[in-house]
């Protein structure tokens, strides 16, 4: 069995795609749960450090 990756869309198609046009870098980051989970844990870690020290 082989794993397949579809070829990249051509540039014209990419430009036409609304979601491609609408990529907002900052919104993508702040709307990403992968960003908030480490951030919350970091804050918790700083509080714990304050307690143990």
């Amino acid at each position: 069995m082989y794993y397949y990756l579809r070829p990249a869309m051509d540039k014209e198609e990419a430009i036409k795609r609304p979601e491609t046009q609408a990529i907002n870098w900052l919104a993508s980051v702040t709307g990403d749960v992968h960003f908030w989970v480490p951030t919350v844990v970091l804050i918790g870690g700083l509080l714990l450090l304050r307690w143990v020290s």
Partner: protein, 435 residues
């Protein structure tokens, strides 16, 4: 749509043959084992905490060594032009690299407190619960263990249970030897470090599913690391003047702490490759074999068990063995084809959300370069020269710290570390050319 697809019927070039998947997984496992040895060895100089140096200062100096290592080693192996080219493909990952670096610094500082209160051989297994946290995030966020089958799930859950029991045994052994308030503070610090490190694997996995080269990722990771650690050192030590005074006063041991950071970098780079090629849920448990190395260094080289009652020593040994058994069960539940396809779906999320070039993602997953190897520049050699100068300068002022160490045992352990280093470097070069 330009996307990764799990369908064999989809049009396009084949991504990975099963043989290639197996080769990459073998490299990942070997890197995980080497990471365990080197991460374990890196904790040894933190024993200096018993000589009266502030835990925060130790962590700060280690991070300084880490910073030197994280820029000089990638500069030699990959080159700063290669690093720049990688980051240009996925600039959003700089944010995750910096967050991961901050998590590392806070966790590392917590471990210094844990070692001070519990001792190296007991604190180690407690913060190695980070593997469990990593598994949870791997399953929740990156589709690891999806379609893995009951055997792999049983191995992972059974392994996690055994690890928990081992950790409890160790905590009990420690609390019988240490004052209860000190033990509870040390246990909280060690478990907290585990949670932070476990969560740090979210940025790792995200980066590697996006096709990032581990050597490029760690270069930015270390900016968060040094920034956070400097802020902590300034806050806890009492400002720049006080920090400078303490650094100057500790110049006899500066070299050892910088070296600890450098050794950590070697282990961490192997850990990054392990996460890249076998995932968080397997790569981290394997590299957490640093627990056994910690036990070996603590018990054999430093004689930490002297003065302990027989029952407590037995508890610590059995606890460590149980944890190692749990880790092994998790480690050898290797991903099969259907699970690998789920990883690709997670990679597709990154590709679509951040508009990363699909060729970049694809080449990253295949373990090959998306761009031709870049030539080394003057900047690369400058970084290497600066790191070398820092080590030579501090080395010339170094004194052997006044701690008991069994030289013969230390040499044997060091030789084993070097052997694993050579084997992993050779395998990485052969299979991936460090991609």
């Amino acid at each position: 749509m330009g996307q990764l697809s799990s369908s064999a019927a989809a049009s396009g070039a084949p991504l990975l043959a099963p043989g290639r998947v197996r080769a990459l997984q073998r490299v990942g496992v070997l890197c995980g084992i080497a990471a365990g040895a080197w991460l374990g060895a890196a904790e040894v100089p933190t024993k200096l905490v018993t000589t009266g140096i502030s835990p925060v200062l130790i962590s700060f100096l280690m991070v300084a060594g880490v910073f030197l290592g994280r820029w000089s080693l990638p500069a030699i192996v990959r080159g700063t032009s290669g690093i720049r080219a990688d980051i240009a493909e996925a600039p959003h990952l700089v944010i995750w690299a910096i967050i991961a670096g901050c998590l590392w610094s806070v966790a590392n500082t917590l471990t210094i407190f844990a070692i001070r209160d519990l001792g190296l051989s007991v604190a180690f297994p407690l913060w190695n619960t980070n593997a469990l946290i990593g598994i949870v995030w791997g399953v929740l966020f990156f589709r690891e263990l999806h379609h893995a089958g009951w055997r792999r799930w049983s191995a992972v859950c059974g392994g996690a249970l055994i690890m928990f029991l081992g950790g409890m045994l160790l905590a009990r052994a420690s609390s019988s030897q240490i004052a209860s308030h000190v033990a509870s503070r040390g246990i909280a610090a060690a478990l907290g470090a585990g949670v932070l490190w476990g969560t740090m694997y979210i940025p790792y996995r995200k980066a590697y599913l996006s096709g990032m080269n581990p050597l490029s990722f760690v270069s930015f990771f270390t900016i968060g690391e040094l920034g956070m650690m400097t802020a902590l050192a300034l806050a806890y030590i009492g400002g720049p003047r006080s920090l400078y005074r303490q650094v100057t006063a500790a110049q006899n041991v500066l070299f050892w702490l910088l070296a600890a950071g450098f050794v950590w970098v070697i282990g961490d780079i192997f850990q990054q490759y392990a996460v890249k090629y076998v995932g968080v849920s397997r790569g981290i448990p394997i590299s957490n074999s640093n627990q056994l190395w910690g036990l070996l260094w603590g018990a054999v080289a430093f004689g930490e068990f002297r003065g302990w009652q027989h029952g407590a020593v037995a508890g610590a040994v059995w606890g460590s063995l149980l944890m190692a058994l749990g880790l092994a069960a998790i480690s050898f539940s290797v991903a099969d084809n259907s699970e690998y396809l789920k990883w690709m779906e997670a990679a597709e999320r990154e590709h679509r959300r951040y508009g990363i070039d699909i060729e970049f993602v694809r080449s990253g997953m295949e373990g090959r370069a998306s761009t031709p190897q870049q030539r080394r520049t003057w900047l690369d050699w400058l970084l290497v020269a600066a790191a070398t100068a820092a080590f030579v300068w501090t080395g010339a002022r170094a004194h052997w710290p006044s701690i008991a160490l069994d030289g013969a045992s230390a040499i044997v352990l060091l030789a084993l570390c070097l052997l694993l280093l050579a084997a992993s470097v050779a395998a990485l070069w052969k299979v991936t050319r460090f991609n």
